[in-house]
């Protein structure tokens, strides 16, 4: 297959591999998964979040708006027996999965995501928003992207939510143009994910940007 466009599938895979290298350095949890027939693959990350009734337990407002609670930390909270039972009853653990795939039709990356309780019950889009926070919802309404829809994951064949890719080129063109103008290499995946990720509750630590500018 030909790779004449700026962003072909080989380029996509290269940027993902670089992104994952940095993720491994900071323990951010991204990994590459190859499809069963080995013809392609995708980048994915899973994180868990504790839900306290209908209120998400924030870890305070940190610099990059972290809203998820690493599992180990959650269970180190000092609780006596009665509090543990109450807490366990009131809380639910939600598993969030984020997949970054390549769309050959639009020649851009696409973000797929889904959330479910540990027993497999999936969350509706409305439930997911409750866990994400108002500030992100505003970003979704303001951005140059179409709404989020439920679609079939092209490699796994299961229902996921997707931020539609048809306007990604439009979204990314100022970033790409600028990087060419100032002659600085960017990791397209890092830039793109830093814009679209937060919209779906996936913040990106700042160190990714520093790592990108250190490449080459």
């Amino acid at each position: 297959m030909e790779e004449e466009e700026f962003f072909g599938e080989q380029t996509f895979q290269h940027y993902c591999k670089e992104f994952i290298k940095h993720s491994q350095q900071i323990g951010d949890g991204w990994e590459w998964r190859t499809s069963k027939d080995h013809s392609d693959g995708y980048m994915c990350k899973t994180h868990f979040q504790i839900k306290n009734g209908t209120v998400v337990s924030h870890l305070g407002a940190s610099a990059h708006g972290q809203t998820c609670l690493p599992m180990e930390e959650a269970f180190e909270l000092p609780l006596d027996d009665s509090e543990v039972t109450e807490a366990a009853a009131a809380t639910e653990v939600i598993k969030y999965e984020y997949h970054v795939l390549y769309s050959c039709s639009y020649q851009v990356p696409v973000l797929y995501f889904r959330a479910s309780f540990l027993d497999g019950r999936p969350l509706s889009l409305k439930d997911i928003w409750e866990g994400v926070g108002e500030c992100y919802k505003t970003r979704l309404q303001q951005g140059p992207w179409d709404t989020i829809t439920q679609q079939e994951h092209p490699i796994l064949g299961q229902p996921f939510f997707v931020l539609h890719p048809c306007r990604t080129t439009e979204l990314m063109s100022p970033v790409v143009k600028n990087s060419r103008k100032i002659n600085r290499n960017i990791n397209y995946i890092t830039s793109w994910l830093s814009i679209v990720g937060p919209v779906v509750g996936l913040p990106l630590p700042l160190s990714y940007a520093r790592a990108s500018s250190q490449d080459e």
Partner: protein
């Protein structure tokens, strides 16, 4: 000699005789009779089964009814796949009518997309049309159209109006005079034997030497396991709209004449039936 345009009509008006039976564990107030219907190959299950829903809901109580879903021999049917594709892929080796089981409970969240309204079907359909044009024309033709043209494509499909649909769709089938075809061909290849739901890759209709690529060329490139050398026994059937086109058929011609209304060639590869 049949005109190529006749092929367009034959594809559009293809029908599958189907028998809908209510799942035995659904709770009914009286016995539910099966419901027979001719399903349009080019449409979508949730778009054409209002009568089926009404028929079964007549014998059920409101509290026992949740989102409707369909199943064939234990496999939940994806409403977002065209009906003809589902049939070719899952049931074409079996005798007619196509026996589909209807459910009103236990929606399989992990397997099926929800279909909350007709708007959801329209959104999905238009999304496919746009993606096809991204491949054929870098989205130029679809983006040049007005909203009312997009609406006309959908209404044509929704109301089974061939002329209304093709008045607009013909523009999506054009290409510049200096080219010999589309930029890339919108296609998806489906097999039940793989975990992957379908194969979709970039593939040009014309080779660098100007020769038109054929269906056989496509299969050799993206799905080599489906094509065997001439002297060996054929393992698979390659179906589009229930027929096996000759592998020598130019892909550009197939794309113009045998695409579904979403402008994609949905190709099923099934094991050769043993009868």
């Amino acid at each position: 000699m049949t005109d190529d345009k006749d092929v367009l009509r034959d594809v559009w008006f293809g029908r599958i005789p189907t028998c809908f039976t209510l799942y035995q564990d659904e709770i009914t107030e009286r016995e539910a009779e099966p419901y027979y219907l001719l399903l349009p190959r080019v449409s979508y299950l949730t778009l054409v089964t209002d009568k089926v829903k009404k028929h079964f809901q007549k014998v059920m109580r409101q509290e026992d009814i949740s989102e409707i879903w369909f199943e064939y021999e234990g496999t939940p049917l994806k409403w977002h796949y065209p009906i003809g594709l589902l049939f070719d892929l899952l049931a074409s080796s079996s005798a007619l009518p196509w026996n589909i089981t209807v459910h009103f409970k236990g929606f399989p969240e992990k397997d099926l997309l929800h279909c909350p309204s007709k708007d959801a079907i329209e959104a999905h359909f238009m999304s496919c049309v746009k993606e096809a044009d991204a491949l054929k024309h870098k989205s130029q033709v679809i983006n040049e159209m007005q909203k009312k043209d997009h609406k006309q494509l959908w209404m044509g499909l929704h109301n089974d109006r061939f002329d209304q649909f093709w008045a607009i769709n013909r523009k999506l089938m054009e290409y510049p005079a200096e080219e010999n075809g589309f930029r890339y061909i919108p296609f998806r290849i489906y097999q039940t034997t793989t975990e992957r739901p379908f194969i979709q890759k970039l593939f040009r209709p014309v080779a660098t030497d100007g020769q038109l690529h054929t269906l056989g060329d496509l299969l050799k490139e993206v799905c080599p396991s489906a094509v065997v050398p001439e002297d060996e026994e054929k393992q698979n059937q390659v179906l589009i709209h229930g027929i096996e086109p000759m592998l020598e058929t130019p892909l550009q011609w197939l794309s113009e004449h045998l695409s579904y209304p979403d402008n994609f060639l949905h190709i099923s590869i099934i094991p050769q039936p043993t009868d």
